[in-house]
């Protein structure tokens, strides 16, 4: 009997058997899942719990406070929150559109055959390869009001007679952040689009040319539709990246001046570490997460329909 049971167990865990190969998959991803659970899921649960407590600085292992919705009441009645939502929305739209436009253009360029194509492709990937904080510090100096390169260029090219106060003007600060984010973000779009472009069979273009289609018609009726699956996923990932980006804004403008570049991520940080109000910070974080989830579902949902 014991031998039979043991034999049965050995058969069950015999990973070489086709019917048991799925177990191998679970075993192999288990470490990653556990790590994700520890690093992401558990802190997320803690943050949601914190958002329902009126707490200044929490302490790990400390006593929980009574459940309260006061953080959310404050949030939705706060002018600062709605301003941060508006700034985030503006930045998401501008940076996403800008990154896709520049990324797609450079991908179309790099997809052609010409001398130096490899170097161009390397150049396109370079902004993505530079660590974000290093790139932002460099941009901060280029946008410097007194000694920055961009201000000097603007004077030399005759656009203005004096240095531009990039960080102390609400409009200029927003565009300084947007330009930096587009510079950092477009390579990802470009690489994804390039991969998508290379999967489009050249026969389609040949056939279209024979039928007399113009460059624009080929782009509109062949390239774009076949690139949509890739573009859709890229759009969602870019949008989520802009939503959650913190370091570019923090280093360049700190969310100012006059909160003109204060996004929801900056607001979360300020509430936690500037005002020591972790309960409110958690509430902002949870709302940001919900917005991101809804946006992702909406966009991916539509993408799925268009593909299939």
């Amino acid at each position: 009997m014991t031998d039979t049971v043991q034999a049965g167990r050995r058969k069950f865990f015999d990973l070489a058997r086709p019917s048991r190969q799925h177990l191998l998959g679970y075993i192999l991803i288990a470490p990653a899942v556990l790590m994700v659970a520890a690093i992401i899921v558990w802190p997320l649960i803690l943050a949601i719990d914190l958002s329902f407590q009126q707490v200044k600085i929490p302490r790990l292992g400390g006593a929980s406070r009574p459940v309260s919705v006061s953080n959310y009441t404050w949030l939705f009645s706060s002018e600062e929150f709605w301003l941060a939502c508006w700034v985030t929305l503006k930045l998401v739209v501008v940076v996403t559109v800008g990154s896709v436009a520049v990324g797609l253009s450079t991908a179309l360029l790099a997809n052609n055959r010409f001398r130096g194509r490899t170097i161009v492709r390397l150049g396109i990937a370079l902004p993505w390869a530079v660590p974000e904080i290093i790139a932002v510090v460099i941009f901060a100096w280029m946008f410097d009001t007194s000694f920055g390169l961009f201000g000097w260029l603007a004077i030399q090219l005759g656009f203005t007679g004096q240095m531009i106060p990039w960080v102390s003007s609400s409009t200029a600060a927003f565009w300084a952040v947007a330009i930096t984010m587009i510079w950092k973000g477009f390579p990802f779009v470009s690489i994804m689009c390039l991969a998508g472009l290379q999967s489009i069979p050249s026969d389609y273009y040949a056939a279209a040319k024979v039928d007399g289609a113009s460059v624009w018609q080929r782009f509109r009726w062949i390239t774009l539709p076949l690139l949509m699956p890739v573009l859709g996923v890229t759009l969602v990932l870019t949008l989520l990246w802009v939503f959650r980006d913190f370091s570019i804004i923090k280093v360049l403008t700190g969310g100012g001046p006059l909160r003109s570049t204060q996004t929801l991520s900056i607001m979360t940080y300020d509430q936690a570490f500037q005002y020591h109000n972790f309960g409110r910070a958690a509430a902002v974080g949870v709302v940001t997460l919900v917005i991101c989830i809804i946006a992702s579902l909406l966009m991916l949902g539509r993408r799925s329909k268009s593909i299939y």
């Binding site: 600085i57 102390s168 001046p257």
Partner: protein, 423 residues
């Protein structure tokens, strides 16, 4: 095969035990964590290391792990450590940062320790700021007075005398702001202030002009006193300095200091810590320190030492020994001689320091004047809300400058918002 495996396992176990044995003495050492932003500061960092060396000599088997956290992210680091229940044993904080931790009950009351050792802190500069809810929760490490450092070469070239009043200061700043190479870009400034970065430093920079106009954010009882004619004058002066182009815009304090140290700026108002930067600058030979042209000079509490309330008692005793060591006459004197700082102890022997730090008498004088005038960066009554308050002031001031608002209206707005913050 099994015997071979067993022998290998036994050998590995013995090797592990031997290695553990060799680490045993090191593991038996008590390690006290001490985080600070001043580890690399010229002079002050060296002073901390000398205190640590003396402490370790007095306490064999005890090591102090002295690590740096950048000033810009220091509050975040300490907040995270305290929230994670992993605070350093030796707590070093800026004078406007410790209140939140004290209010949460995370700082050890030091009155019993002071009483046990019979230490009298009467006359200890700025020590009253370390009182929280009737208890002493920290020891003031540095109480400073601002100075004005100026580039003699730039002032002499412009034919300008060292300014003694606000009006002379503004005139000197305007006269020395120049485009030296004619490219349309100013490359020599009259003065400079931090206008990019944390609101706390922004507030400190403004305070020079505010207190010279005889204004302040609160009175000694903690009532908000922003909507006053004096404050309107102070805000007007700050707006004038900002809009006159005499200083670089959108620059952090550390970059402004470097600009000054390299001879690109005529005058800089700052605390004693400016000395470390100017000593490394290319214009070191041209820089002279003098009293600021404002009365009273800006001054106040700088940083404090404390200990967490929930570390083991044996560690508390060690941390207290460390704090006591910094307060001894020997180290109070070396705080001046090595770091160029004004020691808070009223009994500190600072004779002869001017031989190594020529402007030291100026530092002592401005510190005394600021202390007598009761000046501090952290307004009474707003200690717990300092970050929120300073951010509000910075935003409203920026709005005043960007949108060219009337300072009188801005003062009213600030008064209302400050009262709302305080609740």
């Amino acid at each position: 095969m099994n015997n071979r495996v067993k022998r290998l396992a036994l050998g590995a176990a013995i090797a592990t035990v031997m290695m553990m044995g060799s680490f045993a003495p090191a593991m038996a050492d008590t390690v006290l964590k001490f985080i600070s932003w001043q580890t690399d500061d010229a002079g002050t960092g060296d002073w901390w290391r000398s205190v640590i060396a003396a402490f370790e000599k007095q306490h064999p088997g005890v090591k102090i792990e002295f690590t740096k956290a950048e000033r810009s992210s220091y509050a975040d680091t300490m907040t995270t450590l305290f929230a994670a229940n992993q605070p350093p044993q030796i707590v070093h904080l800026a004078s406007f940062e410790f209140q939140m931790f004290a209010d949460s009950g995370w700082l050890e009351p030091l009155d019993p320790w002071l009483k046990k050792d019979g230490i009298d802190l009467t006359g200890w500069a700025g020590q009253q700021k370390c009182q929280w809810n009737g208890e002493t929760v920290c020891i003031m490490t540095n109480y400073f007075g601002f100075v004005m450092a100026y580039n003699k070469k730039i002032l002499d070239a412009a034919g300008i005398a060292v300014p003694k009043t606000y009006d002379e200061f503004l005139a000197a700043a305007k006269a020395t702001t120049k485009d030296l190479n004619g490219d349309g870009i100013i490359d020599q400034f009259g003065t400079g202030h931090e206008t990019k970065g944390g609101p706390g430093q922004y507030l400190t920079e403004m305070l020079n002009y505010i207190i010279d106009a005889k204004a302040y954010w609160t009175d000694k009882d903690g009532n908000i006193t922003i909507d006053t004619p004096e404050m309107v004058e102070g805000l007007t002066r700050w707006k004038t300095v900002m809009k006159s182009g005499v200083g670089p815009i959108d620059m952090s304090a550390s970059d402004v200091r470097k600009l000054f140290a390299d001879g690109k700026m005529a005058m800089r108002l700052d605390g004693p810590w400016l000395y470390g930067t100017t000593e490394k600058g290319s214009a070191k030979g041209d820089i002279v320190y003098a009293a600021p042209p404002f009365t009273p000079p800006l001054g106040g509490s700088s940083n404090v030492l404390a200990m967490p309330s929930d570390i083991p008692d044996d560690q508390k005793a060690l941390v207290w020994d460390f704090i006591k060591l910094t307060m001894t006459p020997e180290f109070q004197r070396s705080y001046a001689t090595m770091g160029g700082n004004t020691p808070p102890s009223p009994k500190a022997d600072v004779s002869g320091v001017e031989k190594t730090i020529p402007h030291f008498p100026v530092l002592i004088e401005t510190m005394k004047q600021a202390a007598e005038a009761g000046i501090d960066r952290v307004p009474t009554g707003l200690e717990l809300y300092y970050n929120e308050f300073s951010k509000m002031v910075m935003e409203e001031t920026q709005r005043m400058i960007i949108q060219d608002l009337d300072p009188a209206d801005v003062a009213k707005t600030m008064q209302a918002k400050a009262e709302s913050i305080k609740g």
